[in-house]
């Protein structure tokens, strides 16, 4: 047992040797967390917002396995939808956002504040499938998009609960502490959205929102055949920029270009941005490429010219590790043998006391007379007792 502790030591050593060499590197994977938080048909536009972002990141190459899509209600197959299996975000109905190939990771009642925070911080049970987890590391760029109904420093989930700006800030901080991201682009489209990112305090986050405190976010337009508004203004103009300016991964448009395209005349609210958490401040944040967050860039990390002495030391270390491992295995095997001899007897008794799940039992009338007889006897004996008692109590004259 103690040997295994020794084994961890070289690993720590190695980590401390290599840690300084990976400081200001680029990201090596892209992830997207797209969250809609409104249920009910009249909130069609929020799901259309999320799905149009889903289409955009998918168009720019992020695979389904690296997109976490949360849809709280079913709009595509909703009985009210005149276009079954389809969600549109524009009245011209040119693009079917639901399409033929979609993977929704969290849907319906699964979209809760708890699940969202668990997803970000990766505090999930063993049984959670990989497709529902955010398997990022310290070299992952994450695009987080949220939309729904909100207010000053909160965002409602399914009209039943809400996430606060502090909860969100703490979740991001926990992600940073667990080295779960490299950089985050946080985008939110809701009423008073800018209050949601005001409490963030973790580094390397660029945040943007659709409206200031006491401002509403408005929908863009409605489709008369769908019967409800189909997209929000802020998301609409974000998409317009991404569709027209970022056509493929070779686009050199930066975050600054996107943020400069926001104006009050189009969005009807003051979109906000926050750079101060980002390393290098506004200048560095604004010069980041949009494809760093919306696209899938696969930078490969190649080990540079290494110090030969370090290599030799590592080789020697790994040899000792191998030796120690063999020793540990032997020790463990012996311990197992010994414990097996000791614990065969208790094991048996343990298996006897296993919990059994009660199954359905047949209802039978087999001992109907028996049951009646027991009842009658019980009644009769009660009566006899009473009679006896009253006989004894009667004053004897």
């Amino acid at each position: 047992m103690k040997l295994s502790n020794v084994l961890n030591l070289p690993a720590l050593l190695a980590a401390s040797i290599f840690a300084p060499s990976i400081v200001s590197a680029e990201h090596t994977s892209n992830w997207a967390v797209l969250v809609g938080t409104s249920r009910f048909w009249f909130n069609y536009r929020h799901l259309a917002n999320v799905l149009s972002m889903y289409r955009t990141v998918k168009r720019l190459g992020i695979p389904d396995s690296q997109i976490i899509l949360m849809l709280p209600d079913d709009m595509a197959c909703n009985p009210r939808n005149a276009f079954p299996g389809t969600v549109y975000s524009n009245a011209d109905r040119a693009v079917d956002l639901y399409g033929d190939n979609i993977e929704v990771d969290y849907r319906g009642y699964e979209v809760t504040v708890e699940n969202f925070i668990r997803l970000l911080t990766d505090r999930v049970g063993d049984e959670m499938p990989r497709s529902k987890r955010l398997l990022t590391d310290d070299r992952s760029n994450i695009f987080v998009y949220m939309t729904g109904h909100g207010g000053n420093e909160f965002l409602k989930f399914q009209d039943a609960e809400e996430i606060g700006a502090f909860d969100l800030a703490d979740a991001f901080e926990q992600m940073w502490e667990k080295r779960r991201y490299h950089e985050i682009l946080f985008m939110i489209d809701t009423c008073q959205a800018n209050t949601m990112y005001s409490k963030l305090y973790s580094p390397n986050i660029i945040a943007t929102g659709s409206s200031e405190l006491d401002q509403s976010s408005y929908s863009h337009h409605a489709d008369n055949d769908v019967g409800v508004a189909v997209i929000d203004r802020y998301t609409y103009y974000n998409l317009e920029f991404l569709e027209s300016e970022v056509k493929d991964l070779s686009s050199k448009k930066t975050i600054g270009d996107l943020f400069d395209s926001y104006n009050y005349e189009k969005i009807h609210s003051n979109a906000g941005v926050r750079y101060d958490l980002f390393q290098g401040g506004a200048e560095a944040a604004r010069s980041r490429l949009l494809t760093d967050f919306f696209g899938n860039i696969q930078n490969v990390e190649v080990d540079g010219a290494r110090n030969n002495t370090v290599d030799e030391e590592m080789l020697a270390l790994s040899k000792t590790i191998a030796k120690l491992r063999v020793l540990a295995d032997e020790e463990e095997a012996e311990a197992k043998k010994a414990s097996q001899n000791n614990t065969t007897a208790p094991n048996k008794s343990k298996s006897q006391t296993q919990k059994r799940v009660p199954t359905a039992k047949p209802l039978t009338d087999d001992n109907w007379y028996g049951k009646k007889l027991v009842g009658a006897t019980a009644l009769a004996s009660c009566a006899a007792l009473w009679a006896l008692g009253s006989y004894l109590e009667t004053p004897k004259n």
Binding site: C77, F83, D100, K132, A360, P362
Partner: protein, 603 residues
């Protein structure tokens, strides 16, 4: 492409023995039904030998699912996604005798290899979670409260040895509220060897499938041991859907029916009031022309090259008198014994077929009998509904009808009810309408597991026998419980879905019974929507605000009265406000007052 296959053929001859055991088969059966609807049954089946499976050598068997099955030790697995209602009165008997359909929503049952109940529960948890990730459905919501262990209703379909049967546990779970949509179809298609890129699976499109009047997607995995051969593991994927022809012919970008202009209306001329300005529209649906690519929105993109070439991929069940036109290159095979014909589809060209309009007038008028095969009468009709009123008590009534004039029907009836629906078992009654007497022998056996609050649901299994040409009314009462505030879902006012009752019709014991009665067949009622007493969710806020106001008023008033000293208006000393001068004057006045007061006291 062809070049590639020419290399492949000698290669496959080398591995002929392997190819025999593991194979792939697909078939689409179309069956026009009354009321201008068509039933399309897609069936995909692939086999892999157990030794290949255990060596993790997946050829046709989907790897993603295979790994899950191996991880949790699943012996047999059945998964269903269903939507809509099968209209048995007009469409007749169900496809596949109802064995490949589930209740509305998602249904899952599996036989797991487990030595103890705890182990089975643990494996069940990891199975439901893994499947929820694979199929994009909330299968992880099948927890202990929704899991049952049926005693009679389900039997393993595969071949299992007696030793494996001994430590197999059956678990069953239903999610009646679960929506079925495109995200469930996507992973379903990815399990197929041709992945929806070739063969009949190219017809499957979420836009049509989820517009169907009724649809059911099924996955069955079972081991089969043919005599004298190696055991194989079979995965069978089935999709059944009933399409409304008129509805599915609408263009996708304009699916909302709009009134026809007057001159395009077809009028029923037999009406006495028919004239040039009065029109009674005819039943437009009658004898409509339809084509495969019109109804599905796509053509079949050639046959799947992996399928068994002996099996024709498309079949249609219509009378031989009906005309059918097919695309060039395909060949027709007519079955002389029954009204069915099949088509061989060429490998690399599109396939479609047209069923032209059958004129009801003219020289050779056609009737419905020329157009469709009359549907078979089902063995049993079942209908379930709520009775009673109010938010405290309720009742359930199931109407079971045996339409056969001479044969009785024996079946298992299983209900798994949520824990908040507490049934009173003593109110369970069954009475026959149609035949006098013979009241007691309808319910032959009852298996029952009562519910425990927040732990498990009610499980009720009945073995029943219904005499010929009679209707049985099965009723019981229940009580609705009140949930805790946090237990209500976000849309509690919509109600709570109660899973469908599952009816398993037992095969007839007499040897001269017709073919349909010699197999086990299934039937499911519709699911129910139970409305529970729902609180006003904004009430706590109202209460907090209201009480705060009351407390503020009461406390403020009381505090005011206690602390403040009330003085008459004339008693108030008229003092100036602020300024150093005033303060000095005040101090002087106080000093004088004190000396006066001292004097006064002496007096």
């Amino acid at each position: 492409m062809r070049h590639f296959f020419s290399y492949l053929i000698p290669f496959s001859i080398l591995f002929w023995t392997v190819a025999l055991a593991s194979d792939y088969y697909e078939q689409l059966i179309l069956k026009p039904l009354p009321q201008s609807t068509v039933l399309a049954s897609f069936n995909f089946r692939s086999n892999t030998t157990l030794s290949q499976f255990e060596a993790r050598n997946f050829q046709y068997f989907p790897r993603s699912l295979g790994q899950i099955l191996q991880h949790v030790g699943t012996r047999e697995l059945h998964l269903r996604f269903s939507l809509g209602r099968w209209d048995a009165e007009s469409w007749g008997a169900r496809p596949w005798d109802g064995t490949k359909e589930g209740g509305t929503g998602v249904e899952l049952w599996a036989w797991l290899e487990a030595d103890s109940d705890e182990e089975a529960s643990r494996k069940w948890l990891s199975l439901t979670n893994a499947l929820s990730g694979l199929f994009c459905a909330s299968l992880n919501f099948i927890d202990e409260t929704r899991t049952t262990r049926p005693v009679m209703s389900f039997q393993p379909e595969g071949d299992h040895s007696n030793t494996t049967l001994a430590n197999m546990q059956l678990l069953h779970g239903v999610l009646p509220r679960e929506v079925v949509c495109t995200e469930n179809l996507t992973p379903f298609l990815k399990l197929l060897p041709c992945k929806g890129k070739a063969g009949i699976s190219t017809l499957l499109d979420g836009h049509k499938l989820f517009d169907a009047s009724w649809q059911s997607m099924a996955i069955d995995i079972r081991p089969l041991c043919p005599e004298g051969q190696e055991c194989v593991l079979q995965i069978e994927q089935t999709i059944d859907m009933v399409l409304d022809i008129e509805r599915s012919k609408r263009p996708r970008d304009n699916p909302i029916p709009r009134p026809l202009p007057g001159h395009e209306l077809k009028c029923n001329t037999s009406k006495p009031y028919h004239s040039s300005d009065t029109c009674f529209p005819t039943d437009y649906a009658e004898g409509q022309e339809w084509a495969l690519d019109q109804v599905f929105g796509k053509t079949i993109k050639g046959a799947c090259p992996l399928t068994d070439p002996e099996v024709p991929p498309v079949c249609i069940q219509v009378p031989h008198t009906r005309d059918i036109y097919i695309t060039a290159g395909a060949s027709e095979i007519k079955d002389a014994n029954k009204p069915s014909r099949c088509y061989q589809v060429p490998l690399e060209s599109d396939f479609s077929m047209i069923l032209p309009h059958m004129s009801r007038e003219g020289e050779h008028p056609k009737t419905d009998a020329d157009e469709i095969v009359k549907p078979e009468t089902p063995l049993l009709y079942a209908e379930r509904s709520f009775t009673g009123h109010g938010y405290e008590r309720g009742g359930v009534r199931t109407i079971l009808t045996n339409p056969s004039p001479d044969t009785e029907v024996e079946f298992f009836y299983m209900e798994s009810l949520p824990w908040f629906m507490k049934i009173y078992l003593h109110t369970l009654t069954a009475h026959v309408n149609g035949v006098a007497g013979s009241k007691n022998d309808i319910i032959e056996e009852i298996y029952y597991r009562p519910a425990l609050d927040r732990v498990r649901g009610t499980q009720l299994e009945l073995r029943m026998r219904i005499p010929p040409a009679s209707t049985v009314f099965l009723t019981y009462d229940f009580e609705k419980s009140i949930l805790r505030y946090t237990e209500y879902p976000p849309d509690a006012n919509r109600g709570f879905d109660v899973a469908a009752a599952i009816i398993t019709i037992l095969p007839s014991t007499s040897p001269d019974a017709p073919l349909a009665r010699q197999k086990t067949s299934n039937l499911r009622t519709t699911s129910l929507l139970l409305s529970l007493p729902t609180p006003d969710f904004s009430m706590p806020y109202n209460v907090i605000i209201f009480t705060s106001t009351v407390i503020a008023l009461a406390f403020g008033g009381l505090y005011n009265i206690l602390i403040r000293r009330f003085v008459g208006a004339n008693e108030v000393v008229d003092s100036g406000v602020g300024g150093l001068k005033n303060k000095i004057i005040e101090a002087v006045a106080k000093l004088i007052g004190n000396s006066k007061g001292a004097k006064g006291k002496v007096d």
